[in-house]
Amino acid sequence: MEPHQNASDNVDKWIKEKKSIEDQVEIQTKELKEEQEKLLSSNRLMKGLLDNLPIGVFVMSAQGNPMIMNKIAKELSGRTFEREDGTPYPAEELPVNVTIKQEIPATRRDLIITKVDGKKVRLAMLSNPVFDAQGKLEMAIVVLLDITDEYFIDRAKTEFVSLASHQLRTPLSAMNWYSEMLLKGYADPLTKSQKNFVEEIYKSSQRMSDLVSTLLNVSRIELGSFAVEPVQYDVCKLINTITEELQLQITEKKITLVQNCKLTQPVVPLDPKLMGIVIENLLTNSIKYTAAGGIIKIGATSQKDGSVVLTVEDNGYGIPQSEQSKIFTKLYRGDNIKMLDTQGNGLGLYMIKSILNSSGCDIWFESAENNGTVFFVKIPKKGMTRKAGKKHLSGMQGMQS
């Protein structure tokens, strides 16, 4: 082959290669542009999505620096955080801080924030940790919900329940009193079956009265309008009184009741009515959820720190492990006892936990299904905390006697 022919081939080859490279560059550039466009578009999508979400979202790095904050999260940034009762919300209990410090998901907490413009907003905050491939905490994703409207709607509903419960009391009082009078023979002496029927009416009416009183108490607790009025009171005497009141039910179920109240200082500042509700509920539950012939132990012991721990223990049906976390929630009823007792309303434990928590006391339990349950109530050394009642619906306008 001629030398110039050889060189020309090389040039052709080179031109082809160059063309191929250029084509590749062009393709890759196009691909890159497409990728860039995709990235930009997904970025826009992400930002648009985040900013248009009806909830606040913000991401905090493991070091505590804010990384991303959507529009609503910015609007919901608070200057101060408060609890429902107006006391400051401790920073370490805020869900975001719980997640970052303890590396765990933090359940919803409700708080009140004062925004930069001075407006108060009720906020629900929850937070979840995100870990890197090595399992190290990378960031916390925090969700914020403005629950101001929800709060006021819920409050209006509670006020309605409160008013309705109060109004139901008048006709119930008449039913109670007139059944009682009929049973007493005020009208004319009743025949045996008439007496049985009226007794049923009387019992049902009283059950309804109890339910209405519980509803009223629960709505008062939710409205924060109930008062705690501690007086110097003997815990053992209170236990004794409640036990005597429930003696009939205890005897009827052939339950052995063991009372053991050993206190170095039995007189404690407590609200006898509220603590009475607590003890009565716990003891009634034990009676209800213990088989006939069972054993219930009720007592109180003095602790080293000066507090009093009251216990109600039974060898009854117990609370299944899977349900133990739910027992203090409103309207909860244990799956294993719904069939055994159809009268329960699922409000008792919710109510007493609310009473105890808002008066500086504590309640917890230990339970095993088919073995029984022990409830513990701790009254601190200083006793129950005083709380003034707030005036709400109890204003008498619009009420019937």
């Binding site: 009391r169 009082s173 008449a174 109670n176 009193w177 009078m181 109890s394 006697s401």
Partner: protein, 125 residues
């Protein structure tokens, strides 16, 4: 003359039930449907005991108790009401009542027994 009770209650059914039970126990019962009527009656009659409801038209129970205090009427008074809120109870206790019953939670028998304990024999001294 048996010992006398002024019963102030606007609900007809409850008024009749209480009045009947107290009369059956031997007391002389005079009925008033609100605080104003009760004050009118008190102008020319004295009683051994006053039993009053709280939620009533025209003059409610708390206003009635306040008026009694103002008029220096020392007749002992009991509240029988379905109002169970702390602040109303406190106002009533501060006005010097001798007891407070919540109707729906109290059998009529308990109210009568309390009155019997408080006043003693209807025809005694």
């Amino acid at each position: 003359m048996p010992k006398s009770i002024l019963l102030v209650e606007d609900n007809e059914a409850l008024l009749v039930a209480l009045s009947y039970s107290l009369s059956d126990a031997g007391y002389s019962v005079v009925e008033a449907r609100d605080g104003n009527i009760a004050l009118e009656i008190l102008k020319d009659k004295t009683f051994n005991l006053i039993i009053t409801d709280l939620v009533m038209p025209n003059k409610n129970g708390l206003e009635f108790l306040q008026e009694l205090a103002k008029l220096k009427i020392k007749t002992p008074a009991i509240v029988v009401s379905n109002v169970s809120s702390y602040e109303h109870k406190k106002i009533a206790w501060d006005l010097g009542i001798v007891n407070y019953f919540i109707k729906v939670e109290t059998p009529i028998k308990d109210i009568v027994e309390y009155v019997q304990k408080f006043l003693g024999d209807p025809n005694g001294k």
